[in-house]
């Protein structure tokens, strides 16, 4: 019944109210002196050296894509957990074929270096670090 899930809405409401309340409360009770230096971006005590919207390693993007692919595949295993016993060996082998397909994709990504986040220099290819 959808009504059984109302506690989620209630808990979400409690969490948001608590969070907003805490933020308001500490804003209302703290000092406010401010100042140009205090409002500046933190850079270990020296003037700001560069901007924050910098170029990032492509590895993070690859990791995210790998996650989406494999997580969707893993999600297909959840319905199976309910029927492992009744399904018996025929279903077991059917799912093993599916798992094998995932493993094949995983092996491909591994071989292509899609799971590497270290730079080529750190892995000892492409010259020595300065």
């Amino acid at each position: 019944m959808p009504g059984d899930y109302l506690p989620i809405l209630l808990s979400l409401g409690i969490a948001i109210a608590l969070g907003a309340g805490l933020i308001w409360f500490s804003w209302a009770s703290g000092l406010k002196t401010g100042g140009r230096v205090k409002y500046s971006t933190y850079e270990s005590g020296v003037p700001l050296l560069d901007r924050s919207r910098k170029r990032l390693s492509i590895a993070f993007f690859l990791i995210a894509i790998d996650f989406v692919v494999f997580d969707v595949e893993a999600a297909f295993l959840y319905p199976w957990t309910l029927h492992v016993r009744e399904g018996g060996w025929p279903l077991f082998w059917a799912v093993m074929v599916f798992v094998l397909l995932i493993v094949a994709g995983y092996a491909y990504v591994w071989r292509k270096g899609g799971l590497e986040v270290a730079t080529r220099v750190a892995r000892g290819i492409g010259g020595t670090p300065r």
Partner: protein
């Protein structure tokens, strides 16, 4: 109000009280325990044994100046700490803390949402945690914050994969997504920590990475990134991230002991003859004791192991934990079909 509504509200009240007292308790725990490990005293001045240190800290946080950096994206900057509280304050709903009991003439199951998709609900709500970290890093407009949050999100999604697969293994013998039935299965058979040791270890390691705890606290590695995504936060906003982290540790530990260590039940002991209220008390106490043991493990590990390097961390997640989890999946499924489990 109907008796069911009263029972649900009472159960939510019990959980909320427990969860919200975890943060100040852990503040104390996490200073006294390492102090004893390092032959120091730790905070012992505020109240008996320094127990009121958490309250003193809370008062300090509240009266600190709250400011938002001029370059920050203000709405998102304020939204991130609120989002940090949401996963921990919603996932507890599906964790059972006792059997079906009769209290005051009404029969009720000691779990807030007795859902046949409980585990999916837990994982879905727990995944929301990554938004808070990413938004905190992005909105701060600081390169350390951004690097910390990008690392955090990559780390969390990587380990989530191993965690999800380990959870699938733990559900196969019981054949259900309802955590109360997983506990019932373990009462009838063995604790799954014994029948699925590899899956248990994969879950354990992934839990450390999911909550960004040492040795996987790369997102806030202070020796490289100042404080990662927390760099621009201070006062109570910073404390909210830590409340969220401690409460997430608690709910994830609750899922862990429910899947692998029998949840609220004790082996070889049967409380079903006692009155409903006593059963509820015993169930909640047993679950709380198991969670406390897990939280102690979190602290113990933090003060024992050094931090990983970032590429080592990703290698462990993708190239060691994930294959191990798949191995456990095949083994558990074969044993279940073969009738061993």
């Amino acid at each position: 109000m109907s008796p069911e509504t009263v029972a649900t509200l009472a159960k939510i009240g019990v959980w909320l009280t427990a969860l919200l007292s975890v943060a100040p308790a852990m503040l104390w725990f996490e200073r006294r325990i390492p102090a004893f490990m390092q032959d120091r005293l730790g905070p012992n001045r505020v109240g008996p044994l320094g127990l009121l240190q958490g309250i003193a800290d809370a008062v300090k946080f509240i009266f600190k100046e709250e400011f938002t950096p001029a370059n920050a994206d203000r709405p998102l900057f304020l939204l991130a700490p609120v989002l940090a509280l949401i996963p921990a304050l919603t996932t507890y709903l599906v964790i059972p803390f006792g059997p079906e009991v009769v209290i005051g003439g009404h029969s009720t199951k000691l779990v807030v949402i007795d859902s046949d998709s409980g585990v999916l609900l837990f994982l879905a709500l727990a995944s929301l945690g990554v938004y808070s970290l990413v938004l905190a890093g992005y909105s701060s407009n600081n390169k350390y914050s951004l690097m910390g949050s990008i690392r955090a999100s990559a780390q969390m999604v990587s380990y989530e994969l191993a965690l999800t697969t380990a959870v699938v293994c733990a559900l196969i013998p019981a054949g259900t997504l309802n955590l109360a039935e997983v506990v019932d299965y373990q009462r009838a058979h063995l604790w799954q920590a014994i029948s699925q040791p590899i899956g248990m270890l994969v879950f354990l390691v992934a839990a450390f990475a999911e909550t960004n705890r040492l040795p996987f606290d790369l997102p806030e590695a202070e020796s490289e990134l100042v404080a990662g995504y927390l760099t621009e936060y201070g006062g109570l906003r910073w404390a909210m991230f830590f409340m969220g982290e401690y409460m997430s540790m608690t709910t994830l530990s609750a899922l862990f002991v429910t899947l692998y260590f029998g949840g609220w039940s004790l082996p070889f002991v049967d409380f079903s003859g006692l009155s409903g209220l006593v059963q509820a008390l015993i169930g909640f106490t047993v679950l709380a004791a198991k969670i406390a043991a897990m939280l102690f493990l979190f602290v113990w590990v933090r003060w024992t192991f050094p931090r990983f390097r970032y590429d080592q961390l990703m290698r462990l997640g993708w190239k060691a934990l994930l294959p191990l989890a798949v191995l456990q999946l095949v083994a558990t499924a074969a044993l279940t079909v073969g009738g061993v489990l």
